[in-house]
């Protein structure tokens, strides 16, 4: 039996973030069929208090809440997955948790290609488009030469 190295927290952190930020419909297209799983914590909609820092750098303060859906589940193989996603979509949280579990198994390499890569590319594309539109509104200052300076 091949022993898979446990995923690094940094890798897991990265894919959980990517799954949370994914558009639920896009994720469902990329990974439509969920394998059998048992909920350790059924999908639950709640609120997370978002904090900022005073002056951007100082002490924390409470800015306001956002909706978040979370769930935890176990696959038939015993692997446990967690999902914490923005919004109120229970299917999104479940799908994220299933993928979190599967990405810790020998299916990781295949899922990297079929799910994570398209998600990352879609996100990068979306971000690049907004950044490019913002860049087009960047002000280029030029100084007019005045008569008395010549």
């Amino acid at each position: 039996m091949i022993v898979h190295p446990a995923p690094q927290p940094t890798d897991r952190k990265a894919w959980m973030g990517l799954l949370a930020r994914a558009k639920p419909a896009h994720l469902a297209t990329l990974f439509p069929q969920l394998p059998p799983h048992d909920f350790l914590r059924a999908p639950e909609i709640g609120a997370v208090m978002v904090r900022g820092r005073i002056g951007g750098t100082g002490q924390p303060f409470n800015l306001g809440e956002m909706t978040v859906t979370r769930c935890a589940l176990r696959l038939g193989s015993g692997t446990v997955g967690h999902g914490h996603v923005q919004g109120r979509d229970k299917a999104h949280a479940t799908r994220a948790a299933v993928l979190d579990a599967l990405l810790q198994t020998d299916q990781a390499a295949a899922l990297q290609i079929s799910v994570l890569q398209p998600l990352a590319e879609g996100e990068a594309q979306r971000r690049a488009t907004r950044a490019a539109k913002a860049a087009a509104t960047r002000v280029e200052f030029f100084t007019l030469v005045r008569g008395e300076d010549q």
Partner: protein, 360 residues
Amino acid sequence: MYVAVKGGERAIDNAHAWLAEERRGDTTVSELSVAQIREQLALAVNRVMAEGSLYDPDLAALAIKQARGDLIEAIFLIRAYRTTLPRLGASLPVKTEEMAVIRRVSATFKDLPGGQILGPTFDYTHRLLDFKLAAEGEVPAAPTAPASTAPVPHVTEFLNREGMIETEPTGDAQPADLTREPMELPANRALRLQAITRGDEGFILSMAYSTQRGYGRTHAFVGELRIGTVAVEMDIPELGFAVEIGEIELTECETVNQFKGSKTVAPQFTRGYGLVFGQTERKAIAMSLVDRSLRWAELGEDYTGAPAQDEEFVLMHADNVQATGFLEHIKLPHYVDFQSELELVRRLRAEVFATQEAAE
């Protein structure tokens, strides 16, 4: 004597049925979808999220539809909904210095790292009604330009290097939360910022404007105004590390205000801070002026009795859900209260007439 009165159920049911019909309006005009409100009335959605104090564009759009466009009613609906949600935790403080900016302007420095980015702004428009919008038509795609990947640092950080501006005390103290504990005065700055960021835009705007007109002077420069998305990270105890749970759009404003110094501090600039959900720049600028104005005691400035310096006045009147609840309740039946007033005034009049008759 208190007499219980029943009745009005039928009238109420029929009123609600008519409300639903009026909400729909002329049925020959196509119905608005929640997605249309979310996408095309985004600034109204942002205001409802900011003052409803819950970031969820779909819910805010639904609330606007249900409230027939009455934004305070929509904010009320969001506040009521959020009380039904279990609190799953608090995020790590968002890193606004890492914001993916779509707008970033400074009124204090022309040339600054990251540049002046106007973004999708109403500024420099002529404020002439655009009748082309009354007709349906395709919108051409906005131009693009190569984007820089260089960081976009906070403007106040440049002033910091020279010691020209105060530094914010750092730390990770748990901030008080007015949604959990009733607000107690005097409030610290963290609690004030929470109250102002969810406060009514009109009220905060007027308070800020009053300081500009001389009621508690804050001669503020917009050091920086930025709008963009930030990641929201939360510690997940089961995992033992923090993960990103999503992304939100924020508007941040930092004002730079003159400070003549005190016995212990050399003259330097001081700061006012605004941070608001969504694309909400009027509110963020106003918030930073009101924040700075309320700091008079901490900075050893004079209290001139200006409303915007009065913490209790500002914080206890900023919330439009509280204000509208108290204001509008006076239209509901007060028959018994009024009956006693009526009796009292009748008796007083009778006494006056009796005295007059006796004098004659």
